[in-house]
């Protein structure tokens, strides 16, 4: 693997969950963010048949930070996210125009396999999607097993499984039941399991598509805490319909409306001093 192991092996203590969500004012190293883009899209458009779901989106997502995509339903935020790991093209009769560069490599380049992209760009969906026929251990290792050359032996795999579950804040809860069915976990645990599964392949980027939408508030909060922590080791892009969530967890926020990128700025700026009147209407709750 290309990523430095020091970063990954760093064992962080479990966060203590406080009952009230503190709105953290994101304190990103803005200058660093501006200089180190992770994902750069230019003139990115995606179609379902002849209908464009997103049009001409050009944005630069900073590395090792959380970027939120917000907007009313149907604005194309999920489609934008699914263009970043080439999942959009898995739906029949769809196509993508424009370019997406991740860490300097064009992911829509000639000869680039979407499979390779997806191994480096993890994704977590709205509903938890543990594989029902696999144990907890097998679920976390699922992405490793499919890439037969990337791991050497059983021992290495179980280290990676532990590390991924640690990073997802699930290790303490499941370490004694690794060989039991993943379906026995609660919804919130299942969602963190899916995050662990995405982390196990040590991706550069994690894409989260409304990861807390199907969870109860307490579990949603756990996932949110986790997202906040993940920025230390990985670039996160999160789609959410919940503006408070975007404000709590993200460093930068993009506002999409009808397939177009209206505004993309640091989260604090976007929520306190939006430049575009449409952004202001949306964040003050006038539509959507």
């Amino acid at each position: 693997m290309l990523q430095s192991t020091e970063v990954l092996r760093e064992k962080r203590p479990m966060r203590i969950i406080t009952p009230t969500v503190q709105v953290r004012s994101p304190e990103p190293t803005t200058s660093q963010v501006e200089t180190r883009p992770c994902i750069v899209t230019s003139k990115l458009s995606a179609y379902f048949g002849e209908t464009a779901a997103i049009r001409d989106i050009s944005m630069s997502v900073p590395q090792q930070a959380v970027t939120a995509i917000i907007g009313p339903s149907g604005c194309g935020k999920s489609t934008l996210l699914r263009c970043l790991n080439r999942m959009h093209e898995t739906v029949p009769r769809t196509r993508v125009e424009g370019s997406v560069q991740i860490l300097g490599s064009e992911i829509y380049g000639e000869g680039t396999s979407p499979i390779a992209i997806r191994r480096h760009v993890g994704m977590v969906f709205q509903r938890p999607t543990p594989f029902p026929t696999m144990s907890i251990r097998a679920n976390v290792a699922a992405g490793l097993r499919v890439d037969s050359k990337s791991h050497a032996d059983r021992g290495a795999t179980s280290e990676i499984v532990e590390e991924a579950l640690q990073r997802a804040g699930l290790w303490a809860e499941v370490k004694d039941q690794l060989d039991e069915s993943a379906m026995a976990l609660s919804g919130g645990q299942q969602q963190r399991l899916c995050i662990a599964r995405a982390l196990a392949t040590r991706p550069r980027v994690i894409l989260l598509d409304e990861p807390t939408a199907s969870l109860d508030p307490l579990n949603a909060q756990k996932v949110e805490e986790l997202v906040y922590d993940l920025r230390k080791t990985v670039t996160v892009v999160i789609v959410t319909h919940n503006m408070q969530q975007a404000a709590r967890v993200s460093d930068r926020t993009a506002f999409l409306l009808m397939g177009e990128l209206v505004e993309f700025a640091s989260t604090r700026e976007l929520f306190t001093a939006p430049k575009d009147p449409r952004t202001e209407s949306y964040i003050t709750g006038r539509f959507g």
Binding site: N85, M87, T90, I115, A116, R118, R119, G122, M123, F125, R127, T129, F131, P132, T133, M134, S135, R137, A138, A141, A142, G143, R145, V146, D147, R154, T157, S158, V161, D179, S181, M183, C194, R197, A198, T201
Partner: protein
């Protein structure tokens, strides 16, 4: 009128009870260990068994499954993944047509293409005819079971970097496996008792044979031959054979009904 529906329910289940009761009464008294271990006796000679027919039926089921299961499951995967395309709709319709094809027509077809050119009846021809009958059954149940698997699981696997084929096989197919096994067992149960497709293909055999290139005995064929002859001893054998056949079929049907999800999880390797 409500009373009529109760009466209908009783009348509809009555034949099953009558047939099974009669089978057990007549069959059990004719059943002995020799029935399973001995070869058929000559006319008028008491005793004898259907060892060759039992083995023959199992062989025919085996050949049919080797042909019917992979093709049926493959076609089911195709239909579930390409649903809505014109080709998929055509295949789906033709598989229903094939399912409704009279088994005797399948029999003369198999004779025409597998027996006539080589001028030789064979177990293989019989197994192929039965396998062809399994294909549409397995296809449609596989398709139905795959469509129940949520799209989100497929997406999750693709997003992990699974190639499409691995997604289909180790996630989607694996998740639907219990249902597909049930469908396969139902198909096996159905063809296990088929007689008509074997009349001009496997033909039947009074002697011991396990060669796929020779005619082979089968329980349904043997029951038919014995039933339409006049010897009481053969009638007794027919009842015993029918009891064995229906026991095989019912065990498979019950297994299909109670086929529960097999243990989850393959070892991490």
């Amino acid at each position: 009128m409500i009373g009529f529906t109760y009466l209908a329910a009783i009348l509809a289940t009555l034949p099953l009870v009558l047939i099974l009761a009669h089978l057990v009464r007549k069959g059990a008294s004719s059943l002995s260990l020799a029935f399973f271990t001995h070869m058929p006796g000559s006319v008028g000679e008491p005793g004898g068994g259907m060892a060759n027919a039992i083995v023959g039926t199992l062989m025919l089921i085996g050949i049919a499954s080797i042909i019917g299961l992979p093709i049926g499951i493959g076609a089911g995967l195709y239909l579930a993944e390409k649903k809505g395309t014109p080709l998929a709709s055509t295949v789906r319709f033709l598989s229903d047509v094939l399912n409704g094809l009279p088994s005797i027509v399948m029999g003369i077809f198999a004779w025409e293409v597998l027996v006539r050119p080589v001028r030789h009846f064979s177990a293989l021809a019989g197994g192929v005819a039965l396998g062809a009958m399994m294909i549409p059954l397995v296809t449609r149940t596989t398709e139905e079971m795959l469509l129940v698997v949520p799209t989100s699981l497929r997406e999750a696997a693709l997003a992990l970097g699974y190639p499409k084929w691995r997604t289909s096989i180790s996630v989607v197919l694996r998740t639907a496996l219990a249902g597909i096994v049930t469908g396969a067992l139902v198909a096996v149960a159905r063809i296990a008792g088929e007689t008509a497709p074997l009349l001009f293909t496997a033909l039947g055999n009074q002697f011991w044979s396990t060669s796929v290139r020779e005619p082979i005995a089968a329980l349904p064929l043997q029951i038919f031959t014995y039933a339409i002859n006049a010897y009481d001893e053969w009638h007794r054998q027919a009842w015993a054979g029918a009891l064995v056949l229906i026991t095989i079929v019912l065990i498979i049907s019950l297994a299909a009904r109670f086929a529960t999800r097999s243990r989850f999880g393959a070892p991490v390797d």
